[in-house]
Symmetry: C2
Subunit: 295 residues, 2 copies
């Protein structure tokens, strides 16, 4: 197969776009599409200080790499969640990435404050690890973003489509209303954006490989039975039978959302009496977790 642009040998065929591309032209094509999302959806500009949340995986490291290459003002933010045989591997990848590219990455380790990893914490407070992990990461990321203009995450189209399927299966209107590539600033909660919302998992992996990014390939061992992975499997079956189904589903939703603004439950946000974080109750979930752990 030949590259559609330069006629050199193609390295990747993109079925839903029906084009084959060589390495150089795939990278251009990929970066142009991410740029277009950033500009069209007014995610951020070159004057903004951007905090990029990274896990050590292809999506977030690829995003940080791309934004630096495009000369945005980026800082990385990594949370070591103390997951045995996993977190230290990902942290090493993140450190090596930071050194080789001269990008500042803030590293936080939850074991410093809590003396244990997320798996053990989940057992102690009897919560599913993925839900606890999500809450803790959201809190720490929002806290770290205070000194920045915007926070970017590496969620790709497969992540977003899996989330959409889950939200629709429950018809969870609040979640459906909030599901968007751009979430506006809300008081002290900084603006959050997902520049890879229209990039597939496969494209993101190809980009990371072609750009020589050394990322952690394993799935988190605590998430092996995660519902999100199950939904991704379901969506892959749909895509296999009907090429383009995933992006039609996700883009169709965003179009629908535009003409039918979904009502977000307007529970007023108040500052947590302990830490000042915006929450809907007196004490935020994070402070309540801290309390539980210390007692």
């Amino acid at each position: 197969m030949k590259c559609k642009v330069c006629k050199d040998k193609a390295e990747i065929y993109l079925r839903s776009h029906n084009i084959a591309l060589c390495r150089k032209d795939f990278i251009k094509f990929y970066e142009r599409r991410v740029m277009r999302s950033i500009e069209k959806l007014k995610m951020f500009t070159r004057g903004d200080k951007i905090l990029v949340a990274i896990s050590g995986g292809k999506d977030s490291l690829g995003l940080l790499h791309l934004l630096q290459k495009l000369e945005y003002d980026v800082t990385g933010y990594y949370i070591n969640l103390g997951i045995d045989g996993y977190s230290d591997v990902s942290q090493n990848k993140v450190k090596a990435f930071s050194h080789s590219r001269g990008i500042l990455i803030i590293i936080e380790d939850i074991r410093v404050a809590w003396d244990s990893g997320i798996g053990e914490l989940a057992k102690r407070v009897r919560r599913p690890p993925c839900s606890l992990c999500g809450m803790v990461k959201r809190y720490l990321m929002n806290r770290a973003a205070v000194k920045f203009d915007v926070m970017a995450t590496g969620h790709n189209q497969d992540d977003e489509t899996a989330t959409l399927l889950g939200n629709l299966l429950r018809w969870d209107e609040g979640y459906l209303a909030r599901q968007s590539p751009v979430l506006k600033q809300k008081g002290s909660l900084k603006k959050r954006v997902k520049p890879l919302s229209f990039i597939t998992e496969r494209e993101s992996a190809a980009y990371a490989l072609m750009e020589g990014i050394d990322y952690i390939m394993e799935e988190c061992p605590l998430a092996k039975r995660a519902t999100s992975l199950f939904y991704k499997g379901i969506l892959n079956q749909l895509e296999e039978r009907m090429p383009g189904a995933k992006s039609r589903f996700f883009n169709g939703f965003l179009e629908y959302q535009k003409s039918h603004p979904l009502v977000e439950e307007e529970e007023p946000l108040v500052a947590c009496v302990r830490c000042g974080y915006l929450t809907t109750s007196e004490v935020c979930n994070f402070c309540r977790l801290e309390e539980k752990i210390k007692h």
Copy 2:
């Protein structure tokens, strides 16, 4: 396992309701639920003349049987679609059902007018057989319903959920707006209702077996690769992992629809210049098909 009601030996366990029931109590439970749908959604009353569209399968024959048992004024309507090795088998089941129960069933055969079955017609006009079949059945059913107050079909919850999934994957707003257990009368198009909307395929099959209904078990040979069957497989995987997922998905949609009336494309309906059937174009799809076949 024992029947939850009478403690006799249970014959069926309903996972999503978490109850086991004997034959007698399952039949009661099933009929009460269908009755509740009919009454709550004001589908029809004992004063209405009801045309029940039947295929010879468990759902439609089970529905006709149940409505007769509950002393509704019912007539069956069967279309022989001329599908080799299938239509004649189903027609025989329908005839036997009619004789044994003394229910009048109107039988129409498309080969009388067109000299060929739906599979051959589809080839001649180069359309997928399922889409052509749907159009022809809708037309003939609506035409037959003219002398009745309401038309009932045997669509069950699995059918409706598969349709919903397909409509959402394309975010087809017109179809989403029209997807309902009750469609009001619209000019000469009679009211259409689906009394089994909240009954699962498995429950419907169990009811037909327990009530001694001899129905055609095979799937239509032309529909073996049908998208609806593929969607059903996907939804069964979801149900397997998350019991109750299908009914949460479908009921959640109906709740959502109530508070967010979806806008149906209001293309004005006009009478077809050939046959008078309500359509959005000058000549309806059915008359255009007839023309094509005759030329």
